[in-house]
Symmetry: C4
Subunit: 207 residues, 4 copies
């Protein structure tokens, strides 16, 4: 097809645009925490303390987007070609990243509300599954179309494929579990984020 | 005129600034979806489901801005010179891009309101016509002033001119139609966006 | 002093950061236009039309920041050195640029309110005087400390100094006038913006 | 460990992402100042004047983030290597920077409210301690892992360590003091910011 030609600097420009979206989405998270409005007899201290679900959601989403940013960069160094559909898949992945402030705000608002908490956790688990799924699509497409550096060791490629499939399975599992036990689902989501804080495996090359 | 001199890196810096505006406008879209406020007996699930027009408008505008970003980059590679008015036309084009979160928010708020839906679709069609028109102006001006790479095949230049004129005609048609049949107008707008997801034709050069 | 040493790439990085602030401030303007909330019997069309002061303020501020962006770039190409105070003056200038969405929102809210319009125009004129003053300070400081390219023709340097002093005088005049005749003050501000749309004079060098 | 390998351009890309977060956080500050809503008999002038705590908080936080931006750049020029944990520490530092609009908004809202002012100052002092602490962690970690340029004079390294420890002690002191005398705590915080406006000491190298 006509759109498969090579642009040596193309991945750099996609990275710059993606970095912009990452930086903005991560910094917008704070906008969703509204200043509490207290009147005369109420305590601002208490009101600020009652915002703990918002702080928790802020930290969780900030770290998640931060990790995606670091991983996006590592991954894009493995790509040597791009095409139009690859570009569009990246736009869809960024759409999922830019969506994250919304489930974050909902989680912050309803985490301490017993009757709505489960719904908020469900939306948040969905909000994390979406970028993980977009990421997997980018990776599978890039492999199918030969956009990945050919000198990469096949076992490293298989390792990444396995890792991305597992992430999707775990986020999907957390989403399903959130219909039964939202608390456990949230724990899985937090655990996965902590796991991703560990250093990623270095790329291995053939020969 | 005095402002016609050549800056080899000028288009790069315009692209960097434009990319910034694209990245911010695309990421701000989520800010317009407010967290639903439900009280005791109401269901957050239902409230989140009732936001479907906002999700629809978010996806449509995100994809639209994403496509403009990709096309802006392709187009600017064809320019070899800039001048002051070209710069100002690009500022006006970016003004139309940065305006999109507003009609998007209005569409998200009123799409499921039978008595106001038509007005919301009309504003949205206008919101899409404006950047298409700004884009056409940039292209026609660049051609008239010889800012476009001279090695480009004349039939490719004519092809792009025709394509941009057609886009404008279709968005203008959708805008006019929205006074009669807002549903059909919206379908045209969605159809155009889906069409733009297809890979663009590659530039052809003389010789 | 210790901080006067030469960094060849320093102006590039200041420009990149400044471009970021310009791009964000210009794109945030739209956030200040709230979606109108109409109920059953009211018309969304009318509500959207009643927002005309907001659209007017949006266009005026967008063009103003766009022109500052273009000029910032032209000016910074004339600087060959930076120092710490220069950096801090640029931060103060950016603080004035980043402040503009606030007077813009106030103007959009109160321009069609006869009893508050004058105050809104006054704040807006002040909002435009601040970056013009910051700009003048950067220029005068850079000249006094020898940060400007020495090959620049002295008459060109004098021309710019005169132009920046005149801008400040006109914005200050508009601010003072806004206490007597806010309508005329706004007309001056709009006129100045239109003037700045004209191409700037090209730098002239010695020899 | 596997993640200790050298990336010559790695610090550049971290800087670009960090600059994005700085630029967005600094520009978002204005969003937190809401347009005052006055009705017929009230005065917009008075309402705008009553927002002085918000303007004060805006300027203070803008200058603080601006100084961090300038210092971040100076510091990152001293690093010659990065690793995964270094990257994550920078993400945590940026999380503290991106959090600043929240305590700024709270300070702007409650500084002129005698019964809540102390709490607002306390949150603001905490908001400034967090990035100072993140900064210290980055510096100590980079030194411990040999990520810093080895040609740097040991006394300069010790000078920076001392300076960062002192900053943390002073912000922590202001935080503690804010439980007793919020006014004095705020004065310390303002004084520290003014001190940081002074030019930093230039790096000294061995030999």
């Amino acid at each position: 097809m006509a759109d498969e030609h090579i642009h040596p600097n193309e991945t750099q420009r996609i990275e710059a645009f993606s970095d912009g979206v990452f930086a903005i989405a991560i910094t917008l998270l704070i906008i969703e925490i509204g200043v509490p409005h207290v009147t005369g007899e109420q305590s601002l201290s208490t009101a600020l303390r009652d915002l703990w679900p918002s702080y928790f959601a802020y930290v969780l989403s900030f770290v998640t987007i931060g990790i995606y940013w670091a991983n996006h960069h590592s991954l894009f160094r493995l790509f040597v070609r791009t095409d139009h559909l690859f570009l569009m898949l990246n736009v869809f992945f960024l759409m999922a990243i830019a969506f994250l402030p919304f489930p974050t705000a909902v989680l912050g608002e309803y985490l301490d509300n017993p009757s709505q908490r489960d719904t908020a956790v469900r939306l948040y688990a969905l909000g994390l599954l979406l970028p993980a799924f977009g990421w997997l699509c980018i990776w599978l497409y890039a492999n199918a179309r030969g956009l990945v550096d050919e000198r990469l060791a096949p076992e490293y490629v298989r390792f990444l494929t396995g890792q991305y499939l597992l992430s999707n399975a775990l986020y999907a599992g957390a989403l399903l579990l959130s219909f039964l036990e939202a608390g456990v689902a949230l724990a899985i989501v937090v655990g996965l984020t902590l796991l991703y804080l560990l250093p990623p495996r270095r790329p291995r090359y053939v020969g």
